[in-house]
Amino acid sequence: MDSPRKTQKEISGQYQGNLGYFSRIHLGRSARFLVCFFAAAAGLAAIIAFSRRGDERFFNPGPLSASHAALVHTCASCHDKITLTGGKLTRNKFQDVLSDRFHQGIAFDPIDKNCEACHLERDKRSFAFHEPNVVQNRSCSVCHQEHRGPGPMKIVASSQCASCHDNPAIMQASAQKGMQLNWAGFQRHPHPPQQIVFDLPRPARGFTQVFPAFWDGHPEFQLKREPVLDRDVLKFNHERHFAADIPPLTGGRKLECSYCHKPDSEGRYNNQRITFAAQCQTCHSLQIDVQNPELTLPHGDTVAVRGFLRHLDSHYADLAVKKGLRQPNDIKNFVTTQMLRLRERVLSGEDFEHQVFFVADPYKPQPGMEPRARASFYGCALCHQVESRANDAPFIAKPIFVDRWMPQARFDHAKHQVDPNTLQPLDCNFCHHARQSRLTSDVLMPGIASCITCHSPAGKVVAECRTCHSYHAPASLAQMGLSRP
């Protein structure tokens, strides 16, 4: 546009007659004001309408898990309106809530209380919280995170555990607190009374070592860390039982770990205790007479054994009946013959009784016999510590079979049947090293290195804390103050 610029006089001249223009309503500005007004009014109306009849899912950051899906229309089941409805919202209350939020964050307490109330009513149990030396307990919602999508609730992430266990300040405070507590009567992992647990004393600083992950700094298992021995009085040599000369079992089956160590219906190995009758007797039948393998010593009671030996003639007579002899003379002849043959092997009744109780290697008295027959022969001292008692039957201490070696953690053998890398059956010996163990005192539990082989990013098998540990203490401990603070 090449028009020359006008002078001020010319410019003002063209406005003459219209100098009051600024006092008139300007269409554009008025329209903008109206649009703003209607937008604000519509927003306000929407808020009011929503607070009266709105669907609260509008504030829902994500679908509820299947566990709480029924509560999707009743937010108040978890989110308490107490802040709003608990009386009039006064200035002081407003300030208190604001101050609290800016110091603590959005409160979880009302939600936690609702969790506890609901689960107490539904499950008839309260949830005790971890250990007494915890310095900072967690809110339910922190670990059990809701609004993360349908389906099962998201599993508790290890990072939640690490937020304390990888925090030196918290662990130090926890150790200090723990050292001032009386731990008598505190059983974090209670077990049925019939179950024998290898319970080691609590470390002085508790379980407060700082570490970020299972594969990165988790302390060695306590029974591997400390010089722990199996105090069982039974003499058992695992290595010997894997030897090549061990005769096959009934049906030609080879003796394997699973013959003695049997899982229960849930795959746990701590509920099916090994017994002489169920496992050992198949081979160690306590036979006393090569010609009469049916005649075996009783097990479990030395008095009964002694009584058996002292009335051996009557046991031979019973055997004769079982073999089909009916005539008294035939029975008597059978008993006499057997007793005379026995006399050829032993010097006296006392000598025989001594042999039965104190022979530690029953293989020696039967040279040249079949291995099976030799193994089945008597000799309590082979497996037991036998103490002689004057004028009484010898004493044999009852063996102690430990049902649970690591009570702080849980382990599912059923999930460890296959090597995840090779997909080949996993040999028990890979973790337990039983084939190399000769002594009863050997604790055949694997160390953490064995677990980390698979349970680590390198092993590509899940290594979450909750895989082995649980956070909540048993309900019984809720009475000890292990509730959420």
Binding site: M1, Y15, N18, F58, F102, I106, Q136, S141
Partner: protein
């Protein structure tokens, strides 16, 4: 408003430094492992260990959100400041600078408050509104920067916008007067003596030329000057207009060339008024989106804050 001048440098530095500080505090509190050694937060800036997985619910997240909300309120007050010009609380220019840069600072603050998640439908709606407000604001900022340059270049005689209808009607009136004077001349039997005046010089009375001018005025010029939307007329096109007026000059006697040029200047002025109207429209139309959405955002953010702090 030019956005790259010295007065904006302190604001720019403030926004950059505040963004760096907020990011540092955010990472230091929520992802301390990602901070390089030596850059860890001082204890005073580390919030009490929070159990929240949503960043916005933690004390640090709430502070980010609150500062952003405060800036929203301040941004909304700009329209009030513009209305009350005589308030002695900083010039409108200063307020506008603060409005621009502080609202730009809300981008990192809002993102850090949200933890880079949209969350519930409510917060998603808020984010969408915030997006509309910020995009329209930045668009407006670009227009406010570019359009004045165009106006300076193409509108040497800028008219007060509110006076445009008045000036337009004056131009139409002048055209009508000229047309009427030609008609009056046509009714006179002889030529009048020459009189110095502002009226068109009718010293030479050429009926043919005047008839041609009357027809031109009636058919093209007056409809163009009277209409509200001049760009729909052919005279609204500069090159067409130039050609037309050259042609009109050829059709009239030389004595009428001054009148033709005067008519041409009216049309030129009218085109400038139309251009100014168009530019003014671009300069302010974005406010029809920016301002209402800003108020809506302000309202819903207040609701969001109230509900999350006192209810959920």
């Amino acid at each position: 408003m030019r956005i790259f001048n010295r007065t904006h440098i302190p604001w720019f530095l403030l926004v950059v430094l505040a963004t760096i500080a907020a990011t540092w505090i955010y990472i230091g509190n929520f992802f301390p492992g990602r901070l390089p050694p030596g850059l860890s937060l001082p204890p005073a800036l580390v919030q009490k260990v929070s159990q929240h997985r949503s960043i916005g619910g933690t004390p640090v997240g709430l502070i980010f959100g609150s500062v952003a909300f405060a800036i929203f309120i301040f941004g909304g007050l700009l329209s009030l400041r513009k209305r009350v010009v005589l308030w002695r609380i900083g010039s409108v220019q200063s307020w506008l600078r603060a409005h621009i840069w502080l609202t730009l600072l809300t981008i990192p603050l809002v993102l850090l408050h949200s933890g880079f998640r949209l969350g519930a439908p409510m917060t998603t709606l808020l984010m969408a509104l915030y997006g509309v407000v910020m995009v329209s604001g930045i668009y407006g900022l670009i227009l406010q920067h570019q359009v004045p340059l165009i106006m300076k270049e193409r509108l040497p005689n800028e008219t007060v916008y509110e006076q445009i209808p008045h000036v337009r009607s004056q131009l139409a009136l002048a055209a009508e007067r000229m047309c009427d004077s030609f008609k009056a001349n046509a009714a006179l039997p002889v030529a009048r003596p020459v009189e110095p005046s502002n009226e068109p010089d009718l010293a030479v009375n050429d009926p043919e030329s005047e008839a041609a001018l009357i027809a031109f005025l009636k058919d093209q010029v007056m409809p163009y000057l009277r209409t509200r939307r001049g760009h729909r007329f052919k005279l609204g096109n500069t090159s067409y207009s130039n050609d037309t007026f050259r042609f009109v000059k050829l059709r009239v006697a030389n004595a009428y060339h001054r009148q033709v040029e005067e008519i041409e200047s009216w049309c030129d002025q009218r085109r400038m008024l139309d251009l100014e109207t168009r530019l003014h429209y671009w300069l302010h139309s974005w406010l029809f989106v920016h301002v209402p959405f800003s108020f809506l955002l302000l309202l819903l953010t207040a609701w969001h804050a109230f509900v999350t702090l006192f209810y959920y």
